[in-house]
């Protein structure tokens, strides 16, 4: 078993794939306008010809690289390459203004590496335990879990609770398309045989995350990323390492924990860690002027979410964010159904993914410290050239999955809808999550109702499912209750005055 894992991981092709994934990830992450989710969606068609573990390593490498890559442009041109790097801008850009961009990138690289490794260790320790617990889940628990996943992502991911819920409802509705699994009744097919099979998840995801992003980039075609400063060395000094290591420890742990929560990803955790660091700091007034620990905090934290987000994906089949949602689609194509059974039936593959995750982080460290000049060149490719090429990639990718021309149409429609929704301030990840978790929720709801002969009480009689449902409902109502409390306080104040 151990030998099998080692031979799977240290296979030259697998190592090369991880390297390609990390390099692609850093480039995609560094480019403002290209997100890591988009990168995963675009790289996915390439994994079909690979073995399952190799293909997944490509995607995990991309994920790890992209979350780090965002910091490069955050530091150099004051624009975060990915939303996760938004907090890095605050203290990263002041370094560049002082002419110390190399030092800032070095700190960010080491911090990202530290955060990634911490989250990897936690993943390796926690995931098998969690999978063991999840093995005892039956239909009611699984339904409660899916319900929990959909509702929590709807309530957390957007700025407005209603908009998040609306996105979630769209996703659920899309999930209904096709033939009903249990009764064979056709829903929302409008007489089309293509729709009877249900919507293919991947073209929808490519459209929502990649195509819509292209449209958004077309709006700002003229934006160029000109980097003038020459970067000499990105190797951090001993002094800097000494100041940032406690920060990395805190950031990595916070990031991992936030990553585990469905719906909360790198962008949230980075700000949480930045804020936390300011509170424990001896000189909080200097934050925003370019402090080493103020770069290390968000960067270790956002890379901490990578391992964190993989934990619920692998053990429960519930993706923690949009990146892992797309990965879930890839896993399913490779016939690896995430969930507790994966740890029993495909233990070698799971272990390979764990080790591969660590290797991806090591590659990221090496590439980040030595390869910055290369990434600086890539970032400067103008959008006018990049966008047309990416649109073609979207098309080819969604076609290649089933060799079906209609999937391209689905992708294009999803792209236009995604663009309109982003413009209206609706979050996209609830749609995808509901689309994936919808069938899981529905099937298990039906099965549990059969088990209980139609009584809904089955969900509340079992402690685990009851707990999930209660947490989900509390999360949904929390913003409303909060508003009431604020209103009540204001009322009290005004009546007292």
């Amino acid at each position: 078993m151990a030998l099998e894992v080692l031979s799977l991981t240290f296979d030259p092709i697998t190592l090369l794939t991880i390297l390609v994934g990390v390099t692609a990830g850093i480039s995609i992450g560094a480019m403002p306008g290209l997100t890591s989710t988009m990168g995963i969606a675009l790289l996915m068609p390439l994994t079909f010809a690979m073995e399952a573990h190799t293909g997944m390593m490509l995607l995990i490498g991309e994920f790890v690289g992209a979350i780090y890559g965002g910091s490069i442009t955050a530091i150099l041109i004051n624009t975060p390459g990915t939303p996760s790097a938004a907090a890095t801008v605050l203290d990263g850009y002041p370094f560049t203004k002082r002419g110390e961009s190399g030092r800032a990138i070095g700190i960010s690289t080491v911090a990202s590496f530290g955060g990634g490794i911490i989250s990897g260790i936690i993943m390796i320790l926690v995931a098998p335990v969690l999978a063991n617990i999840a093995l005892k889940f039956s239909a009611p628990e699984t339904f409660a879990l899916a319900f929990f996943g959909i509702s929590i992502i709807s309530s957390i991911s957007g700025k407005s609770l209603l908009k998040g819920l609306f996105s979630g409802a769209i996703g659920l509705t899309l999930a209904l398309i096709g033939v009903d699994n249990i009764t064979g009744f056709t829903r929302f097919a409008f007489g089309s045989t293509f729709l009877m099979g249900g919507l293919a998840v991947i073209p929808v995801m490519v459209g929502l995350f990649a195509m819509s992003q292209c449209f958004l980039s077309i709006e700002e075609l003229e934006a160029t990323n000109v980097i003038t400063q020459k970067i000499k060395s990105a190797l951090p000094t001993k002094q800097d390492l000494k100041t940032i290591w406690p920060t990395i420890l805190r950031g990595g742990l916070t990031g991992t924990f936030i990553g585990i929560i469905p719906g909360a990803g790198g962008d949230i955790s980075a700000f949480v860690s930045y804020d936390m660091e300011r509170r424990v700091s001896k000189h909080p007034e200097l934050f925003g002027t370019g402090l080493p620990e103020a770069i290390a905090a968000p960067e270790s934290s956002n890379n901490g979410t990578t391992g964190g987000a993989l934990i619920p994906l692998l053990t429960l089949g519930i993706p923690g964010d949009s990146n892992t949602a797309v990965m879930l689609g890839a896993l399913m194509i490779h016939n690896l159904i995430p969930g507790p059974m994966l740890f029993v039936q495909q233990a070698a593959v799971v272990d390979t993914l764990f080790i591969g995750f660590m290797i991806a982080n090591v590659f990221m460290l090496i590439l980040g410290l030595l390869g910055i000049p290369l990434f600086v060149k890539i970032v400067q490719v103008p959008r006018k050239i990049l966008v047309p090429v990416i649109i073609v990639l979207c098309l080819v990718g969604s076609y290649a999955i089933n060799n079906n021309y209609l999937d391209v149409v689905v992708m294009l429609v999803a792209g236009v809808i995604g663009y309109a929704l982003v413009k209206g301030g609706f979050p996209l990840s609830p749609i995808v999550l509901a689309l994936i978790l919808g069938p899981m929720a529905e099937g298990n709801l039906r099965r549990s109702l059969v088990m209980s002969k139609g009584s809904v009480m089955i969900f509340f009689e079992r402690p685990i499912s009851a707990a999930f449902i209660v947490i989900a409902v509390v999360c949904l109502f929390l913003p409303i209750i909060k508003r009431w409390i604020v209103m009540y306080r204001n009322f009290k104040k005004s009546s007292a005055a």
């Binding site: 609306f166 509705t173 077309i218 050239i385 047309p388 021309y405």
Partner: protein
């Protein structure tokens, strides 16, 4: 079936609520967006074109056309990028991934 009804109702309800809540309107049709809509139109044309002339030719034309539309002046880029992209994509997908691209009705 009951589920679908509930979800549909929920969606409509939320839509109404959102209308009430947000006072600001989102401009889907502004000057900035004409470029986006025209690009979308070109892309739709491209998808149609694939089924007529096949993937390689349509991709060459599309990349060339869209970059022209984006006002790229350099002929090196206008010719080089479409040729390289099409060649690499076609090679990778047909050789390694065994994808059969639509050949189009003309050939």
């Amino acid at each position: 079936m009951i589920l679908s009804g509930i979800i549909f109702l929920l969606a409509v309800l939320l839509l109404l609520n959102i209308r009430k809540e947000s006072g600001e309107t989102v401009h889907l049709f502004s000057k900035k967006n004409t470029t986006v809509f025209l690009s979308l139109l070109i892309t739709v044309l491209y998808v149609v074109l694939i089924s007529v002339v096949g993937f390689p030719i349509a991709t060459l034309l599309y990349l060339f056309g869209l970059m022209m539309f984006f006002r790229i002046k350099s002929w090196k880029i206008l010719i080089g990028v479409p040729v390289l992209t099409t060649a690499i994509l076609y090679g990778v997908f047909t050789r390694f991934l065994f994808v059969q691209f639509p050949r189009g009705i003309l050939f």
